[in-house]
C-alpha cells in the first residue's frame, strides 16, 4: 500500500517484478539502473546466491519528480523466481501497488510461466488483493532469441497462456538489450498512479 504524506506532499509507491526464475526480472532492473540515471535516486541492491540467482529481492529506488504538486517516489522490487523461495516471494509482494509480470519466451519455460502467474494470483489473494483489480503489465521477455533456431513461444501463445482472461497491457521485450524495458515500466507506473489516484479519491 502506497504511503502518502500530505504534509510533505510525498507519495511512495511499490512496484514488484514477478515471474519465473531466470526470466529476466533482475535484468529489467539492471537496465533501468543503467539507463534512467536521472530517475534513479539510490543504488540498486541485489541479494543474490550462487549462480547470481536472486535470493531475497532486488531493490531500486526511483523518483518521478513532482506530479500535481506531489513528489512521487517508487520502490522497484523483484521477487526470487526459484520455486523454493515461496515464502520470500510472498513477503516481498506485501504492500504492492503495481506489478510487472516478466514471462520467459522460451518454450521450455511455458509451464513455469503459468505456475508463477498462478502463484502471484494466490499470494495477492492471501493479502486480500484481486489480480484483476491490481495494476499489472505483462512483459514477454527474451524476444531477442526470435529468429534464432531455438523453440520460442509466439506472442499469441503467450497471450493465450497468460493474458487471455486478464487482458492487461503487454509488451515484447529483451531485458538483455533493453528493448521494451522502459515501455513496460512506464505503462506500469501509469496504471499504478491512476489506481492510487482512484483509491485516494474514493477515500
Amino acid at each position: 500500500m502506497a504511503t502518502i504524506n500530505l504534509k510533505q506532499r510525498e507519495i511512495e509507491a511499490k512496484i514488484v517484478y514477478y515471474g519465473p526464475g531466470r526470466g529476466g526480472k533482475t535484468k529489467n532492473l539492471e537496465y533501468i539502473y543503467k539507463t534512467y540515471k536521472k530517475q534513479v535516486t539510490g543504488d540498486m541492491v541485489s541479494i543474490t546466491t550462487e549462480g547470481d540467482r536472486t535470493l531475497f529481492f532486488d531493490f531500486l529506488p526511483i523518483g518521478l519528480g513532482k506530479i500535481r504538486g506531489f513528489d512521487v517516489r517508487v520502490s522497484l522490487f523483484t521477487v526470487p523466481g526459484q520455486v523454493q523461495y515461496s515464502s520470500t516471494r510472498k513477503l516481498v509482494l506485501k504492500g504492492v501497488d503495481g506489478l510487472v509480470f516478466v514471462a520467459d519466451s522460451l518454450k521450455v519455460r511455458r509451464e513455469k510461466n503459468m505456475i508463477s502467474l498462478k502463484d502471484m494470483a494466490q499470494n495477492l489473494k492471501d493479502y486480500g488483493m484481486n489480480i484483476f483489480k491490481t495494476p499489472l503489465v505483462m512483459q514477454y521477455n527474451k524476444r531477442d532469441l526470435v529468429g534464432e533456431s531455438f523453440p520460442i513461444l509466439s506472442i499469441e501463445q503467450l497471450e493465450n497462456d497468460l493474458n487471455r482472461q486478464l487482458k492487461v497491457p503487454s509488451f515484447p521485450g529483451s531485458a538483455l538489450k533493453g528493448e521494451g524495458v522502459g515501455a513496460t515500466l512506464k505503462e506500469c507506473l501509469k496504471l499504478t498512479l491512476k489506481s492510487l489516484k482512484r483509491q485516494f479519491s474514493e477515500g
Partner: protein
C-alpha cells in the same frame, strides 16, 4: 531433420539454457542428445561423443548441486538489513512498525539482527509480549534452544513481565521443545521473580500478537504445535494424519512433510481445501478448516527432498 542436425540443435539448446542458468533444461537436452546417439550404432566416434556429453551433464549437475546447497539465508550487510527493516514495515505507529521490521528480518533469516531488534522492544509495554515470543521463535528457528531457556530465565529474574505473561511464554516455548523432543525444561517463574499483575500491559489499539503480523487484519490464532488432517482422498483416505507445525505466522502455519509421504504431498496440493483439521496448541485443541497455500520441495539443507507445506487457517 537428419540425425546430425537434430543433435546439433539439441546441443545448441542445451548450451543456451546452460548460459541462462536453466540447468535442468540444459541437462534434459544433453540427455536427449545422448539418447539419440545411443540408438544409432553407425555414427563415427559415437562412444567418445557420448562420453563428452556425459561429462557435460555431470558438470551441469555439479553446478546445480552447488546452487541447491547454497546457504538459504546468509548474513547480509547492515545496510541491507536496515533496508529490510524500513521497507517491510507497514504499520503506521512506530512501535508496531519496529516490531514488523524485526519480524521481517527474522523472516529473511537475519536472526542475529532480529534478536537485537526484538530485545530493544522488550522495554515497550505495548509490544513486550510479542517481542519476547518472537525472540523465542528466533531461538527455535536457529535451534539455539538452551539460549532461549536462559533468556526466559533472565526475563523471569528481571521481573519485567507479569506472571501470566511469563506463563504464556513458558507454555508456548515448552510446548515447542517437547514437540521437538528437546530435553530442556523451561522452569516456571517463581512468584517473587515476576512483576505484579497490576503492571499488566495497558489497553492497546493493536493487540501485540496482531502486531507481529504487521497488518493487524488477521485474527491471531493460538500458537499451534501440531495438526491432524482428516484425509479425504489418496491412499490414507479416512485417516487423520498428524503433522508438527514448524512455523506459524498469524493464521498461516508451515509443516514439514517427509518425502516418503508421497500420498499426502500429492493430496495436499496448492489450493486444496481441507475441511477437517484438528489444531493442537499447548493450551487447547480445536477443530477448523484450511487451505493449502504452498507445497514446495525443500532444495537445500538437512531437510532437502522433504516438502514444506503452508496452510492458511480459514475457519475454526
Amino acid at each position: 531433420m537428419d540425425v546430425a542436425q537434430k543433435i546439433k540443435s539439441l546441443l545448441q539448446e542445451a548450451e543456451l539454457y546452460r548460459s541462462q542458468g536453466l540447468l535442468r533444461e540444459a541437462i534434459g537436452k544433453y540427455q536427449s542428445a545422448v539418447a539419440i546417439l545411443q540408438q544409432i550404432e553407425k555414427i563415427k566416434n559415437r562412444d567418445s561423443l557420448v562420453e563428452g556429453l556425459s561429462r557435460k551433464i555431470r558438470a551441469v549437475e555439479r553446478e546445480l548441486e552447488s546452487l541447491e546447497s547454497a546457504k538459504a539465508a546468509p548474513e547480509i550487510s547492515t545496510d541491507v538489513q536496515d533496508l529490510i527493516k524500513e521497507k517491510f514495515a507497514f504499520a503506521k505507529d512506530s512501535l508496531s512498525g519496529a516490531l514488523e521490521g524485526a519480524v521481517a528480518l527474522a523472516k529473511f533469516g537475519q536472526y542475529g539482527r532480529a534478536l537485537d531488534e526484538f530485545r530493544s522492544l522488550l522495554s515497550e509495554d505495548a509490544v513486550r509480549l510479542a517481542a519476547a515470543k518472537n525472540i523465542l521463535r528466533c531461538h527455535i528457528a536457529r535451534q539455539t534452544y538452551q539460549d532461549g531457556v536462559e533468556e526466559y530465565r533472565k526475563w523471569a529474574a528481571e521481573g519485567v513481565f507479569s506472571s501470566s505473561q511469563l506463563e504464556n511464554l513458558r507454555v508456548f516455548f515448552q510446548g515447542v521443545l517437547d514437540k521437538r523432543e528437546v530435553s530442556a525444561t523451561v522452569a516456571p517463574a517463581e512468584a517473587s521473580g515476576a512483576a505484579e499483575e497490576q503492571i499488566e500491559t495497558p489497553s492497546l489499539e493493536l493487540e501485540p500478537e496482531q502486531a507481529v503480523e504487521g497488518d493487524g487484519q488477521e485474527e491471531e490464532l493460538l500458537d499451534i504445535s501440531s495438526i491432524g488432517v482428516l484425509m479425504e482422498d489418496g491412499p490414507q483416505k479416512g485417516q487423520r494424519v498428524e503433522f508438527d507445525v514448524s512455523f506459524q505466522s498469524g493464521s498461516e502455519i508451515s509443516l514439514l512433510v517427509p518425502s516418503r509421504e508421497k500420498g499426502v504431498i500429492e493430496y495436499l496440493r496448492v489450493g486444496t481445501k481441507i475441511k477437517d483439521i484438528a489444531f493442537y496448541s499447548p493450551f487447547a485443541m480445536f477443530q477448523g478448516a484450511g487451505v493449502v497455500t504452498a507445497n514446495t520441495k525443500i532444495a537445500t539443507g538437512p531437510k532437502r527432498g522433504d516438502f514444506s507445506l503452508d496452510i492458511k487457517v480459514i475457519g475454526s
